[in-house]
Point group: C2
Chain length 191, copies 2
Amino acid sequence: MARAGLSAERLTRAGAELADEVGFDQVTVSALARRFDVKVASLYSHLKNSHELKTRITLLALEELADRASDAVAGRAGKDALTALANVYRDYAREHPGRYAATQFRLDTKTAVAVAGVRHAQLTRAILRGYDLTEPDQTHAVRLLGSVFHGYVSLELGGGFSHSAPDTQETWERALDALDALLRNWPSPTS
Amino acid sequence: MARAGLSAERLTRAGAELADEVGFDQVTVSALARRFDVKVASLYSHLKNSHELKTRITLLALEELADRASDAVAGRAGKDALTALANVYRDYAREHPGRYAATQFRLDTKTAVAVAGVRHAQLTRAILRGYDLTEPDQTHAVRLLGSVFHGYVSLELGGGFSHSAPDTQETWERALDALDALLRNWPSPTS
DNA sequence: CCGATTTGCCTAAAGGCTTTAGGCAAACTA
DNA sequence: TAGTTTGCCTAAAGCCTTTAGGCAAATCGG
Protein backbone atom coordinates (compact mmCIF):
# COMPACT_ATOMS: atom_id res chain seq x y z
CA MET A 1 0.00 0.00 0.00
CA ALA A 2 1.66 3.21 -1.18
CA ARG A 3 2.41 5.82 1.45
CA ALA A 4 0.78 9.18 1.30
CA GLY A 5 3.84 11.14 2.31
CA LEU A 6 2.30 12.98 5.22
CA SER A 7 4.23 15.31 7.45
CA ALA A 8 3.40 17.96 10.00
CA GLU A 9 4.31 20.64 7.45
CA ARG A 10 2.15 19.30 4.66
CA LEU A 11 -0.72 18.79 7.04
CA THR A 12 -0.38 22.32 8.29
CA ARG A 13 -0.37 23.78 4.81
CA ALA A 14 -3.34 21.69 3.78
CA GLY A 15 -5.08 22.68 6.99
CA ALA A 16 -4.56 26.32 6.15
CA GLU A 17 -6.08 25.81 2.71
CA LEU A 18 -8.97 23.97 4.27
CA ALA A 19 -9.47 26.83 6.70
CA ASP A 20 -9.71 29.30 3.85
CA GLU A 21 -12.26 27.12 2.12
CA VAL A 22 -14.55 26.12 4.96
CA GLY A 23 -13.61 28.34 7.89
CA PHE A 24 -11.04 27.89 10.60
CA ASP A 25 -13.29 26.22 13.09
CA GLN A 26 -14.44 23.68 10.56
CA VAL A 27 -10.86 22.48 10.32
CA THR A 28 -10.84 19.04 11.88
CA VAL A 29 -8.44 16.14 11.88
CA SER A 30 -11.13 14.07 10.16
CA ALA A 31 -11.64 16.56 7.36
CA LEU A 32 -7.92 16.74 6.80
CA ALA A 33 -7.66 12.94 6.64
CA ARG A 34 -10.41 12.88 4.02
CA ARG A 35 -8.52 15.46 2.01
CA PHE A 36 -5.46 13.22 1.93
CA ASP A 37 -7.58 10.12 1.40
CA VAL A 38 -6.09 8.55 4.44
CA LYS A 39 -7.47 7.14 7.66
CA VAL A 40 -7.91 9.56 10.52
CA ALA A 41 -5.64 7.72 12.93
CA SER A 42 -2.74 8.11 10.53
CA LEU A 43 -2.55 11.82 11.19
CA TYR A 44 -1.85 11.19 14.84
CA SER A 45 1.65 10.05 13.98
CA HIS A 46 2.35 13.57 12.79
CA LEU A 47 0.18 15.63 15.09
CA LYS A 48 -0.16 15.31 18.83
CA ASN A 49 -3.81 16.26 18.66
CA SER A 50 -6.38 18.52 17.08
CA HIS A 51 -5.20 21.49 19.11
CA GLU A 52 -1.68 21.19 17.78
CA LEU A 53 -3.03 21.27 14.23
CA LYS A 54 -4.79 24.54 14.92
CA THR A 55 -1.81 25.99 16.66
CA ARG A 56 0.42 25.15 13.71
CA ILE A 57 -1.99 26.75 11.28
CA THR A 58 -2.07 29.83 13.47
CA LEU A 59 1.69 30.11 13.50
CA LEU A 60 1.84 29.58 9.76
CA ALA A 61 -0.62 32.39 9.21
CA LEU A 62 1.17 34.74 11.58
CA GLU A 63 4.44 34.12 9.77
CA GLU A 64 2.99 34.58 6.32
CA LEU A 65 1.42 37.79 7.46
CA ALA A 66 4.64 39.04 8.98
CA ASP A 67 6.55 38.16 5.80
CA ARG A 68 4.17 40.14 3.68
CA ALA A 69 4.28 43.01 6.12
CA SER A 70 8.07 43.06 6.08
CA ASP A 71 8.10 43.30 2.32
CA ALA A 72 5.48 45.99 2.34
CA VAL A 73 7.14 48.39 4.73
CA ALA A 74 10.62 47.93 3.30
CA GLY A 75 11.74 51.15 1.69
CA ARG A 76 8.69 53.13 2.69
CA ALA A 77 8.11 55.73 5.37
CA GLY A 78 5.40 57.86 6.88
CA LYS A 79 1.92 57.59 5.50
CA ASP A 80 3.22 55.50 2.64
CA ALA A 81 4.43 52.85 5.05
CA LEU A 82 1.30 53.13 7.16
CA THR A 83 -0.91 52.52 4.16
CA ALA A 84 1.19 49.65 2.91
CA LEU A 85 1.15 47.87 6.24
CA ALA A 86 -2.54 48.42 6.77
CA ASN A 87 -3.32 47.06 3.34
CA VAL A 88 -1.28 43.96 3.96
CA TYR A 89 -3.51 43.05 6.88
CA ARG A 90 -6.69 43.86 5.08
CA ASP A 91 -5.74 42.06 1.87
CA TYR A 92 -4.49 39.02 3.71
CA ALA A 93 -7.77 38.76 5.58
CA ARG A 94 -9.70 38.98 2.35
CA GLU A 95 -7.55 36.51 0.46
CA HIS A 96 -7.23 34.07 3.34
CA PRO A 97 -10.19 34.46 5.67
CA GLY A 98 -9.58 31.12 7.33
CA ARG A 99 -5.93 31.82 7.98
CA TYR A 100 -6.81 35.28 9.21
CA ALA A 101 -9.34 33.80 11.60
CA ALA A 102 -6.57 31.49 12.75
CA THR A 103 -4.48 34.45 13.82
CA GLN A 104 -7.11 35.12 16.45
CA PHE A 105 -6.75 31.62 17.81
CA ARG A 106 -5.68 31.73 21.41
CA LEU A 107 -2.22 30.23 21.59
CA ASP A 108 -1.37 28.75 24.96
CA THR A 109 2.30 28.42 24.26
CA LYS A 110 3.17 31.76 25.74
CA THR A 111 6.48 31.81 23.99
CA ALA A 112 4.86 31.19 20.63
CA VAL A 113 2.61 34.19 21.15
CA ALA A 114 5.59 36.22 22.11
CA VAL A 115 7.62 35.25 19.07
CA ALA A 116 4.88 35.92 16.58
CA GLY A 117 3.36 38.87 18.41
CA VAL A 118 6.66 40.60 18.88
CA ARG A 119 7.51 40.40 15.20
CA HIS A 120 4.29 42.13 14.27
CA ALA A 121 4.74 44.76 16.92
CA GLN A 122 8.24 45.46 15.61
CA LEU A 123 6.92 45.94 12.11
CA THR A 124 4.38 48.41 13.31
CA ARG A 125 7.04 50.12 15.33
CA ALA A 126 9.18 50.38 12.23
CA ILE A 127 6.64 52.47 10.39
CA LEU A 128 6.49 54.84 13.32
CA ARG A 129 10.04 55.88 12.61
CA GLY A 130 8.62 58.19 10.01
CA TYR A 131 6.70 60.02 12.72
CA ASP A 132 8.01 61.95 15.62
CA LEU A 133 7.11 59.78 18.58
CA THR A 134 9.19 58.75 21.54
CA GLU A 135 8.56 56.16 24.23
CA PRO A 136 6.13 55.50 25.77
CA ASP A 137 3.97 57.18 23.15
CA GLN A 138 5.43 54.92 20.53
CA THR A 139 4.14 51.86 22.33
CA HIS A 140 0.74 53.42 22.79
CA ALA A 141 0.65 54.18 19.10
CA VAL A 142 1.70 50.63 18.18
CA ARG A 143 -1.15 49.27 20.23
CA LEU A 144 -3.62 51.72 18.79
CA LEU A 145 -2.63 50.88 15.24
CA GLY A 146 -2.82 47.18 16.00
CA SER A 147 -6.28 47.69 17.42
CA VAL A 148 -7.53 49.62 14.43
CA PHE A 149 -6.16 47.20 11.87
CA HIS A 150 -7.38 44.15 13.67
CA GLY A 151 -10.70 45.66 14.65
CA TYR A 152 -11.49 47.00 11.22
CA VAL A 153 -10.56 43.83 9.43
CA SER A 154 -12.51 41.65 11.83
CA LEU A 155 -15.61 43.75 11.62
CA GLU A 156 -15.47 43.99 7.85
CA LEU A 157 -14.87 40.25 7.52
CA GLY A 158 -17.67 39.46 9.91
CA GLY A 159 -20.09 41.61 7.98
CA GLY A 160 -20.16 44.28 10.65
CA PHE A 161 -20.25 47.07 8.09
CA SER A 162 -23.08 45.37 6.28
CA HIS A 163 -23.18 46.65 2.75
CA SER A 164 -24.38 50.11 3.65
CA ALA A 165 -23.25 53.39 2.15
CA PRO A 166 -20.67 54.82 2.13
CA ASP A 167 -18.32 52.28 0.67
CA THR A 168 -16.05 50.46 3.12
CA GLN A 169 -13.11 51.15 0.83
CA GLU A 170 -13.69 54.84 1.36
CA THR A 171 -13.90 54.40 5.10
CA TRP A 172 -10.66 52.49 5.05
CA GLU A 173 -8.91 55.28 3.21
CA ARG A 174 -10.33 57.94 5.49
CA ALA A 175 -9.35 55.91 8.53
CA LEU A 176 -5.78 55.80 7.28
CA ASP A 177 -5.89 59.54 6.64
CA ALA A 178 -7.11 59.99 10.17
CA LEU A 179 -4.41 57.79 11.67
CA ASP A 180 -1.75 59.57 9.67
CA ALA A 181 -3.01 62.92 10.90
CA LEU A 182 -3.09 61.60 14.42
CA LEU A 183 0.45 60.28 14.32
CA ARG A 184 1.75 63.54 12.89
CA ASN A 185 0.05 65.37 15.71
CA TRP A 186 0.02 63.03 18.67
CA PRO A 187 -1.70 64.66 21.63
CA SER A 188 -0.07 64.89 25.03
CA PRO A 189 -1.95 63.32 27.94
CA THR A 190 -4.97 65.22 29.21
CA SER A 191 -4.54 64.15 32.82
CA MET B 1 -40.16 12.84 38.24
CA ALA B 2 -40.03 16.56 38.98
CA ARG B 3 -39.58 18.87 36.03
CA ALA B 4 -36.55 21.04 35.75
CA GLY B 5 -38.38 24.07 34.43
CA LEU B 6 -36.28 24.58 31.35
CA SER B 7 -36.99 27.25 28.78
CA ALA B 8 -35.11 28.85 25.95
CA GLU B 9 -34.55 31.93 28.09
CA ARG B 10 -33.17 30.07 31.09
CA LEU B 11 -30.98 27.97 28.85
CA THR B 12 -29.67 31.07 27.14
CA ARG B 13 -28.85 32.78 30.43
CA ALA B 14 -27.18 29.66 31.78
CA GLY B 15 -25.32 29.31 28.51
CA ALA B 16 -24.02 32.83 28.86
CA GLU B 17 -22.78 32.10 32.38
CA LEU B 18 -21.17 28.93 31.13
CA ALA B 19 -19.48 30.88 28.37
CA ASP B 20 -17.99 33.29 30.89
CA GLU B 21 -16.72 30.38 32.94
CA VAL B 22 -15.29 28.06 30.32
CA GLY B 23 -15.19 30.08 27.11
CA PHE B 24 -17.77 30.58 24.42
CA ASP B 25 -16.67 27.75 22.21
CA GLN B 26 -16.76 25.28 25.06
CA VAL B 27 -20.47 25.97 25.38
CA THR B 28 -22.17 22.79 24.28
CA VAL B 29 -25.65 21.41 24.58
CA SER B 30 -24.21 18.54 26.60
CA ALA B 31 -22.46 20.79 29.07
CA LEU B 32 -25.61 22.80 29.51
CA ALA B 33 -27.63 19.64 30.16
CA ARG B 34 -25.14 18.58 32.81
CA ARG B 35 -25.49 21.97 34.44
CA PHE B 36 -29.24 21.49 34.73
CA ASP B 37 -28.78 17.86 35.71
CA VAL B 38 -30.99 16.82 32.87
CA LYS B 39 -30.59 14.53 29.88
CA VAL B 40 -29.19 16.08 26.74
CA ALA B 41 -32.15 15.28 24.54
CA SER B 42 -34.41 17.30 26.82
CA LEU B 43 -32.85 20.53 25.68
CA TYR B 44 -33.92 19.88 22.12
CA SER B 45 -37.51 20.64 23.05
CA HIS B 46 -36.41 24.20 23.74
CA LEU B 47 -33.61 24.68 21.24
CA LYS B 48 -33.60 23.76 17.58
CA ASN B 49 -29.93 22.89 17.72
CA SER B 50 -26.56 23.83 19.05
CA HIS B 51 -26.26 26.73 16.64
CA GLU B 52 -29.43 28.29 17.91
CA LEU B 53 -28.07 28.16 21.44
CA LYS B 54 -25.00 30.09 20.40
CA THR B 55 -27.01 32.55 18.41
CA ARG B 56 -29.25 33.24 21.39
CA ILE B 57 -26.28 33.80 23.66
CA THR B 58 -24.84 36.17 21.10
CA LEU B 59 -28.02 38.19 20.93
CA LEU B 60 -28.26 38.27 24.70
CA ALA B 61 -24.74 39.63 24.95
CA LEU B 62 -25.31 42.22 22.25
CA GLU B 63 -28.39 43.47 24.03
CA GLU B 64 -26.78 43.60 27.44
CA LEU B 65 -23.93 45.51 25.94
CA ALA B 66 -26.23 47.94 24.16
CA ASP B 67 -28.21 48.48 27.36
CA ARG B 68 -25.10 49.34 29.29
CA ALA B 69 -23.92 51.58 26.49
CA SER B 70 -27.24 53.44 26.40
CA ASP B 71 -27.01 54.14 30.10
CA ALA B 72 -23.43 55.24 29.81
CA VAL B 73 -23.84 57.81 27.08
CA ALA B 74 -27.07 59.26 28.43
CA GLY B 75 -26.48 62.79 29.57
CA ARG B 76 -22.89 62.94 28.41
CA ALA B 77 -21.23 64.59 25.43
CA GLY B 78 -17.87 64.93 23.72
CA LYS B 79 -14.92 63.23 25.26
CA ASP B 80 -16.95 62.41 28.33
CA ALA B 81 -19.36 60.37 26.25
CA LEU B 82 -16.57 58.83 24.21
CA THR B 83 -14.80 57.65 27.32
CA ALA B 84 -17.96 56.32 28.90
CA LEU B 85 -18.88 54.33 25.82
CA ALA B 86 -15.40 52.98 25.33
CA ASN B 87 -15.23 51.86 28.93
CA VAL B 88 -18.51 50.04 28.67
CA TYR B 89 -17.09 47.83 25.95
CA ARG B 90 -13.85 47.24 27.73
CA ASP B 91 -15.41 46.55 31.10
CA TYR B 92 -18.01 44.25 29.64
CA ALA B 93 -15.33 42.23 27.91
CA ARG B 94 -13.41 41.91 31.15
CA GLU B 95 -16.40 41.02 33.27
CA HIS B 96 -17.92 38.70 30.73
CA PRO B 97 -15.22 37.32 28.46
CA GLY B 98 -17.40 34.50 27.21
CA ARG B 99 -20.31 36.75 26.38
CA TYR B 100 -17.95 39.21 24.74
CA ALA B 101 -16.51 36.42 22.63
CA ALA B 102 -20.08 35.58 21.71
CA THR B 103 -20.57 39.02 20.21
CA GLN B 104 -18.01 38.01 17.59
CA PHE B 105 -20.04 34.96 16.68
CA ARG B 106 -21.06 35.11 13.07
CA LEU B 107 -24.83 35.44 13.00
CA ASP B 108 -26.41 34.14 9.84
CA THR B 109 -29.77 35.70 10.51
CA LYS B 110 -29.01 38.82 8.58
CA THR B 111 -31.83 40.66 10.23
CA ALA B 112 -30.54 39.79 13.67
CA VAL B 113 -27.16 41.26 12.83
CA ALA B 114 -28.90 44.29 11.53
CA VAL B 115 -31.00 44.78 14.62
CA ALA B 116 -28.13 44.39 17.03
CA GLY B 117 -25.49 46.03 14.87
CA VAL B 118 -27.60 49.03 14.09
CA ARG B 119 -28.32 49.72 17.73
CA HIS B 120 -24.62 49.81 18.53
CA ALA B 121 -23.89 51.97 15.54
CA GLN B 122 -26.58 54.41 16.63
CA LEU B 123 -25.08 54.66 20.08
CA THR B 124 -21.70 55.42 18.63
CA ARG B 125 -23.31 57.94 16.33
CA ALA B 126 -24.95 59.58 19.31
CA ILE B 127 -21.66 60.41 20.93
CA LEU B 128 -20.50 62.01 17.72
CA ARG B 129 -23.12 64.73 18.16
CA GLY B 130 -20.68 66.39 20.50
CA TYR B 131 -18.22 66.71 17.65
CA ASP B 132 -18.54 68.65 14.46
CA LEU B 133 -18.88 65.94 11.84
CA THR B 134 -21.31 65.68 8.98
CA GLU B 135 -22.06 62.78 6.67
CA PRO B 136 -20.31 60.84 5.29
CA ASP B 137 -17.52 61.60 7.75
CA GLN B 138 -19.79 60.67 10.59
CA THR B 139 -20.18 57.16 9.24
CA HIS B 140 -16.46 56.83 8.69
CA ALA B 141 -15.90 57.92 12.26
CA VAL B 142 -18.49 55.47 13.58
CA ARG B 143 -16.69 52.67 11.82
CA LEU B 144 -13.31 53.79 13.01
CA LEU B 145 -14.47 54.00 16.60
CA GLY B 146 -16.07 50.59 16.32
CA SER B 147 -12.83 49.19 14.96
CA VAL B 148 -10.73 50.66 17.72
CA PHE B 149 -13.01 49.53 20.52
CA HIS B 150 -13.44 46.07 19.16
CA GLY B 151 -9.84 45.68 18.10
CA TYR B 152 -8.38 46.90 21.35
CA VAL B 153 -10.66 44.82 23.50
CA SER B 154 -10.07 41.68 21.44
CA LEU B 155 -6.33 42.04 21.49
CA GLU B 156 -6.22 42.79 25.18
CA LEU B 157 -8.52 39.87 25.97
CA GLY B 158 -6.50 37.53 23.77
CA GLY B 159 -3.30 38.47 25.48
CA GLY B 160 -2.04 40.44 22.51
CA PHE B 161 -0.56 43.14 24.71
CA SER B 162 1.21 40.57 26.80
CA HIS B 163 1.98 42.09 30.13
CA SER B 164 4.65 44.41 28.86
CA ALA B 165 5.24 47.97 29.91
CA PRO B 166 3.68 50.46 29.69
CA ASP B 167 0.45 49.58 31.37
CA THR B 168 -2.47 48.77 29.11
CA GLN B 169 -4.66 51.06 31.19
CA GLU B 170 -2.41 53.94 30.21
CA THR B 171 -2.56 52.97 26.56
CA TRP B 172 -6.31 52.86 26.75
CA GLU B 173 -6.45 56.37 28.17
CA ARG B 174 -4.01 57.69 25.61
CA ALA B 175 -5.95 56.02 22.82
CA LEU B 176 -9.09 57.79 23.98
CA ASP B 177 -7.19 61.08 24.12
CA ALA B 178 -6.03 60.42 20.60
CA LEU B 179 -9.49 59.61 19.32
CA ASP B 180 -10.91 62.69 20.99
CA ALA B 181 -8.26 64.85 19.37
CA LEU B 182 -8.93 63.19 16.06
CA LEU B 183 -12.66 63.76 16.22
CA ARG B 184 -12.20 67.40 17.16
CA ASN B 185 -9.93 67.82 14.20
CA TRP B 186 -11.10 65.37 11.56
CA PRO B 187 -8.92 65.58 8.46
CA SER B 188 -10.34 66.13 4.99
CA PRO B 189 -9.51 63.49 2.36
CA THR B 190 -5.95 63.57 1.03
CA SER B 191 -6.51 62.43 -2.55
C1' DC C 1 21.82 -8.06 -2.24
C1' DC C 2 19.51 -9.30 1.96
C1' DG C 3 18.17 -9.51 6.81
C1' DA C 4 17.05 -6.28 10.60
C1' DT C 5 15.14 -2.16 12.09
C1' DT C 6 12.55 1.81 11.70
C1' DT C 7 8.68 4.24 10.03
C1' DG C 8 4.03 5.02 8.12
C1' DC C 9 -0.48 3.99 7.49
C1' DC C 10 -3.96 0.64 8.83
C1' DT C 11 -7.76 -1.74 11.76
C1' DA C 12 -10.11 -1.71 16.06
C1' DA C 13 -12.23 0.35 19.74
C1' DA C 14 -13.68 3.58 23.39
C1' DG C 15 -15.65 7.92 24.66
C1' DG C 16 -17.89 12.49 23.74
C1' DC C 17 -21.13 15.62 21.32
C1' DT C 18 -25.35 16.29 18.26
C1' DT C 19 -29.60 15.20 16.77
C1' DT C 20 -33.96 12.51 15.94
C1' DA C 21 -37.82 9.30 17.29
C1' DG C 22 -40.90 7.64 20.33
C1' DG C 23 -42.75 6.94 25.31
C1' DC C 24 -44.62 8.01 29.87
C1' DA C 25 -45.98 10.97 33.41
C1' DA C 26 -46.74 15.64 35.21
C1' DA C 27 -49.21 19.79 34.53
C1' DC C 28 -52.75 22.52 32.62
C1' DT C 29 -57.96 22.94 30.96
C1' DA C 30 -62.54 22.27 30.86
C1' DT D 1 -61.73 14.53 37.17
C1' DA D 2 -61.01 13.16 32.35
C1' DG D 3 -58.55 14.70 28.37
C1' DT D 4 -54.98 17.07 26.32
C1' DT D 5 -50.75 19.14 26.19
C1' DT D 6 -46.14 19.55 27.52
C1' DG D 7 -41.66 18.19 29.43
C1' DC D 8 -38.22 15.14 30.29
C1' DC D 9 -36.85 10.41 29.46
C1' DT D 10 -34.70 6.19 26.93
C1' DA D 11 -32.75 4.58 22.72
C1' DA D 12 -30.09 4.90 18.84
C1' DA D 13 -27.44 6.61 14.87
C1' DG D 14 -23.74 9.46 13.10
C1' DC D 15 -19.55 12.10 13.33
C1' DC D 16 -15.24 13.55 15.74
C1' DT D 17 -11.09 12.62 18.73
C1' DT D 18 -7.74 9.81 20.52
C1' DT D 19 -5.16 5.51 21.87
C1' DA D 20 -3.34 0.72 21.05
C1' DG D 21 -1.52 -2.61 18.41
C1' DG D 22 -0.34 -4.71 13.65
C1' DC D 23 1.60 -5.26 9.02
C1' DA D 24 4.14 -3.74 5.20
C1' DA D 25 7.15 -0.38 2.98
C1' DA D 26 11.36 2.11 3.32
C1' DT D 27 15.94 2.35 5.01
C1' DC D 28 20.37 0.68 6.68
C1' DG D 29 24.40 -2.49 7.91
C1' DG D 30 26.93 -6.21 6.44
